[in-house]
Symmetry: C2
Subunit: 322 residues, 2 copies
């Protein structure tokens, strides 16, 4: 394929915004665009974005091999379907087939966290990597020995609903004390508001504080905000220890809206893991060689991973099938 067309379109459909990239076979970004997600006309918006992107490529439009869609929810990449994508769809949608029929371009679909993990693996050649997305929800994408993990159920990586605290609040999923219920953006905001309600004078935060407000206040030294951040960081550190011990990965990259906090989140996570390594020889063995990173803000890892998966599908598919 080295002398053939090798551009791929990747689209990461989030709850609030949708990112589009076009990359070439060296993963160079030729085109990048972000628009608000139109949750009422999801598939129409995707099809429109593909057409506009192809048009924007002008003379290179013929070089587009295919489209990759990174979406939240329960994704079956083999069937090309998605369901239970919070805020967007609940019934099963044959998204890959719909997009392919409307655009004429081969289309693949993948869970957004898995697409991001695949991109990190390919870009940096790290064959055992977990991408942990922390935003409105929490999920992981996992590449193990160079293979993207999807699972028998298509649900592999749903670590947001692994137990974090048996005494924690009820999760939106219905179970008690899920990681998502104690460490995702809404959980951070709720914990801050609860502390504000107890003693409003103790903090600069207000009754409608967001997770971003909490990190801002923590950065400026607010004690209440700092305590909330440390609570979330403790839960995330334990989840990272779990990813490393259970999956045997040696690289964990944190992304999603909450990761925009950068070092304000990463520093307390690292402190927690440092304490566990001091306490336990096993934790030291597992974590000593493990890289814990935050995805640089503005990196469209999901969209770039989706493009990489589209390129891989085009290259490995029999020519007759295209």
């Amino acid at each position: 394929m080295s002398d053939g067309p090798a551009l791929a379109i990747g689209i990461d459909v989030g709850g609030t915004k949708t990112a589009v990239v076009v990359t070439d076979e060296t993963d160079r970004v030729l085109y990048e665009r972000t628009v608000p997600t139109n949750a009422d006309a999801w598939t129409d918006q995707i099809v429109g974005l593909v057409r506009e992107t192809v048009a924007a490529l002008e003379s290179r439009a013929d070089e587009v091999l295919g489209v990759g869609l990174a979406v939240p929810g329960h994704v079956d990449s083999r069937q090309g379907t998605v369901r239970m994508a919070v805020n967007v769809v609940r019934d099963e949608v044959a998204l890959a087939a719909v997009c392919q029929a409307a655009t004429g371009l081969p289309t693949v679909i993948e869970h957004d966290a898995r697409a991001a993990a695949f991109w990190l693996y390919r870009r940096d050649r790290t064959p055992n990597v977990a991408y942990l997305t922390v935003g409105t929800g929490i999920a992981a994408g996992l590449v193990l020995d160079g293979v993207l993990l999807r699972g028998a159920t298509g649900l592999a990586g749903e670590v947001g609903h692994v137990l974090a605290d048996p005494d924690g609040p009820i999760c939106p999923c219905g179970m008690r004390g899920c990681l998502e219920a104690v460490a995702a953006g809404p959980a951070i905001a709720r914990a801050a508001r609860e502390r504000w309600a107890t003693d409003p004078s103790a903090t600069v935060l207000s009754a409608d504080a967001s997770a971003a407000d909490v990190f801002d206040a923590a950065r400026r030294g607010d004690a209440v905000a700092t305590a909330v951040v440390e609570m979330a960081a403790r839960h995330l550190a334990r989840a990272i220890r779990g990813l490393v011990l259970a999956f045997g990965v040696d690289r964990v990259v944190i992304g999603g809206g909450v990761a925009a906090a950068g070092d304000t989140l990463l520093a307390p996570i690292r402190r927690e893991l440092h304490d566990e390594r001091k306490a336990s020889g096993l934790a030291e063995t597992a974590l000593a060689g493990t890289s814990i990173e935050i995805l640089p803000p503005g990196t469209n890892a999901g969209a770039r991973g989706a493009a990489a998966l589209a390129r891989e599908a085009a290259v490995t598919a029999p020519a007759a099938a295209r």
Copy 2:
């Protein structure tokens, strides 16, 4: 290889006993033996068992392709080494090379839970399976899409040290509230003894109750023992939910000493999972098609898996290397 020799010796070295099997290419057991583990002369004992097993095969001794060793601890199957095997070794031992040099037979080594998971996968053709061993410690072996998971660190499957209860006791590993610290055999025994100390008249259990005693008493209706079993079952059920959600497996098999309790353990685990499925659509989706089983007592899954791995290594290795 179908018309060549195809016998393999599998040895599962446990903390208290060591099981030896010989299986043929159809996984039929031709020879089976269990002896007490000699922790002071571990490698000598293994070498002696291999020699005695070959001798016992008499005219078929020439058909032995190789040896597989299933061991606890931190196993590097690529290097053929093991360390941190509780009760047995702490320094790194090049066990595969030592055994191979002494017996002249190609030897592979694998973590005992991984060997058992591999055997379950091969026997039943279930490509996404977790084997959860619950005994003195807790660990998992995982086969994902037909591939045995080892991890970058060789520690994949160390789910005994994933957090189960932030307020739980300190684990022997040094961290607080690990799954092993609340649901392994010693944790079950300790919880029973603590309840006995509070009110000895409330239970048939005594100050030196073992985990097996606790299950026996629960089976006979003792309320204190039943409460302890339900506590352990709750933690194990949450861990199983975590395995299913994080890894996407659709089959979980529980083995190890504690699994000898059979339905006395399995029934409360299933009740817990049933409650979670009623509470959460996500849990229902993930768990509805998931099989939760207990390994039948007396099944030498680790030894049979080690034999299967030895056979696979012999078949895939270049002939010149043997």
